[in-house]
């Protein structure tokens, strides 16, 4: 009986460890909730900003007048 009890304890311990190693299931109410989670974990590649820096810098008159209209003349 003692041996049986020990095995049971080991089994329980093993089961508990196994359970702890299992990733917790995540539930999403619907597709858009899942997509929101995915979007929040999808970083924007830094290369885009670097390319934009070059592209907008290359344009003649790279600070167009609409900034003034849209942002109330806060252009530096």
């Amino acid at each position: 009986m003692k041996h049986q009890t020990k095995l049971t304890q080991e089994q329980q311990q093993h089961a508990a460890q196994h359970q702890a190693q299992q990733p917790a299931a995540r539930e999403f109410a619907n597709a858009e909730e899942l997509l929101r989670y995915d979007a929040a974990h999808t970083p924007v590649p830094p290369g885009i900003a670097q390319r934009l820096q070059k592209s907008t810098g290359d344009l003649p008159g790279s600070k167009p007048a609409w900034w003034k209209r849209l942002f109330g003349g806060t252009q530096p």
Partner: protein
Amino acid sequence: MAEVPAGLASPEFSSLYVENSRAIYYLALRFLGDPQKAEDATHDVFLKAFRKLDQFRGEASLRTWLYRIAINHCQNLRQGWHERHVFSNADDAVWENAMARTDSPLRVLETKELGQRIQKTLDGLSDEYRLLLLLVADEELSYEAIGMLVGQSPDAVRGKLHRARKAFATLFEKTA
């Protein structure tokens, strides 16, 4: 929110980029299904915005206006190359008898490859359903704004969204 880029044309353009780049990049990524094309598309969308913001009339939010540019850009790209190679089996009729229930939660055990599963699922949907789901996932957009972007009434958006969710859930289960 994206990291503040140093050296963009102005602080205002930096703000525009910081506040909207994640949304635009994510739409491009999941609509096109290709990280490199999404990166190029996001760059092109913001460059167009930079050049054409004098045409922005303020009838919609800046976010909605950027989405309009992004959707046109991505749809043009897909018409150029994707439609020739990808067959989408999704239309309204296909999903009418789908097994998945829209009120059942989507269960995910492993988030490591979640992006691939999501992409595979979205790739199996029609452009219309894919776009609707991606737009409605942005909490900043109202049904009215989404309707404006896809050329439908808000009620039509709600109806189609119901079927799009169902289609997504059915396909998502199959990718497990």
